[in-house]
């Protein structure tokens, strides 16, 4: 009996040692992971990751070149709005939030760019990204806050209320602003996380209007 227990004990020690070694190896691998991401010439560097601490993302634009996921959301007037309603137009899906400072910097630019390119078949859909799917009691106050913020920012394009139904197919939307430029065929031509300068935004709009030609 004693021998059996001793053998079991030794086996356990060995198992524990192996597990600890494996853990240390994993930690060492993480610490020695590549700190530099090589980006092909002419391509934008990857956007900051959700944790903001420099972890590399495999693909900063996973939806680029793919059909924009279909959705139907409610606007601030309670009307249903679908992406399909804008078939044949170039659309900027701009995910934002009332608490997002960088979003509030670019929104006035989007208002002006929308006016500038509207005649060429361009539209902006502002999608407020807070999720009140599980909090119907808080929805009225949330909606009032969005209306106030949208009015204050001078938004002249449709503002839709987001939630899980759209955030999941669009990749989680962890960082805001998060913009998807969609061409007339419904294909995503650019996917940008974070604030970029006005010229870059305008260039992406032109690319979407042109039909996404590279």
């Amino acid at each position: 009996m004693v021998a059996f227990v001793m053998i079991a004990a030794l086996g356990l020690m060995l198992w524990s040692g192996v597990k600890e070694y494996q853990r240390r190896q994993q930690q060492a691998a993480l610490q020695h992971a590549p700190q530099v991401v090589l980006v092909p010439e002419g391509q934008a560097p990857p956007a900051a990751t959700a944790d903001g601490a420099g972890a590399a993302e495999a693909d900063p634009q996973p939806l680029k070149g793919k059909p924009a996921p279909a959705f139907t959301l409610t606007d601030l007037n309670g009307e249903k709005v679908s992406l399909a309603d804008y078939k044949g137009k170039a659309v900027l899906l701009n995910f934002w939030a009332t608490w997002c400072g960088p979003c509030k910097v670019e929104i006035p630019w989007l208002v002006k760019l929308r006016d500038q390119y509207k005649a060429q078949g361009f539209e902006v859909l502002g999608i407020e990204s807070d999720n009140y799917d599980d909090d119907p009691k808080g929805l009225a106050a949330y909606k009032a806050g969005v209306v106030k913020s949208a009015t204050g920012l001078g938004i002249n394009y449709p503002v839709l209320l987001g939630g899980d139904t759209i955030s999941k197919p669009y990749g989680g939307l962890d960082g805001l602003p998060n913009s998807f430029y969609v061409d007339r065929n419904g294909v995503v031509t650019s996917q940008i996380v974070g604030l970029r300068d006005r010229d870059e935004i305008e260039a992406n709009i032109k690319k979407a209007i042109a039909g996404g030609g590279q």
Binding site: V5, R23, L30, A48, G54, W99, G101, G145, D174, L176
Partner: protein, 206 residues
């Protein structure tokens, strides 16, 4: 500045926050603290060795999680609760306990008193318990911060390490301070949805 607490619901003392590394550490240390002489085994020496080995193996596994600030997906936490894990205070007397947190490099979070109403403040919610009372929490003033793209707007934020001071009263014995820190973080060009992290401290009233 002092802020009233958000008291959410009553918790039974024996509930352990499974997501809190600190809670896991403590649970492990209780296991390692078993007295083999009271374990009831007939082969005391060998059995005690086995119990200790089991505990050591479990300890190695649990502490590997406690050491890390990374989630299961590999993403680092934006804000981490650093310490203390355990404090001793005079039983029945009001005492101040400093809770230390760290904001990850490159990020900032709104202070408890952001300058714009639409911004989400940092808050601490503490679980209410019988006989063990957290009467208030002091939040530090925020530091000025401006985004490079809008230098005229001054935000009130926390970056790096920051400390909240909890004022609490505990009767004699061991208690678990359980709370949740809610924050909303941004980096230099993006903002992230509000998140929470668990806060757990063993409080011993003596």
């Amino acid at each position: 500045m002092q802020a009233s607490l958000v008291i959410r619901r009553r918790f039974n003392r024996c509930v352990i926050l499974s997501d809190a590394p600190q809670a896991r550490s403590r649970r492990t240390s209780r296991v390692t603290g078993l007295d083999p002489r009271r374990s009831g085994f007939k082969l005391p020496a060998v059995a005690a060795a086995l119990v200790l080995l089991l505990a050591t193996a479990a300890s190695a596994q649990d502490f590997s999680g406690a050491d890390s600030t990374q989630s299961s997906t590999g993403a680092k936490s934006m804000v981490t609760f650093l310490f203390p894990e355990q404090v001793t205070i005079p039983a029945g007397k009001l005492a101040a306990v400093d809770l230390h947190f760290r904001v990850a490099d490159g990020l900032h979070i709104n202070s408890h008193t952001p300058r714009e109403k639409s911004l989400i403040p940092t808050n601490l919610a503490v679980v209410e318990q019988d006989g063990f009372k957290v009467s208030a929490v002091d939040f530090p003033p925020g530091a000025d911060y401006s985004f490079a793209f809008d230098p005229t707007q001054k935000l009130s934020v926390y970056t790096g390490d920051f400390v909240l001071r909890a004022h609490l009263t505990a009767p004699s014995g061991e208690h678990l301070l359980q709370g949740v820190l809610r924050y909303q973080a941004c980096n230099s060009n993006s903002c992230f949805p509000p998140k929470t992290i668990p806060v757990a401290v063993d409080v011993i009233g003596k």
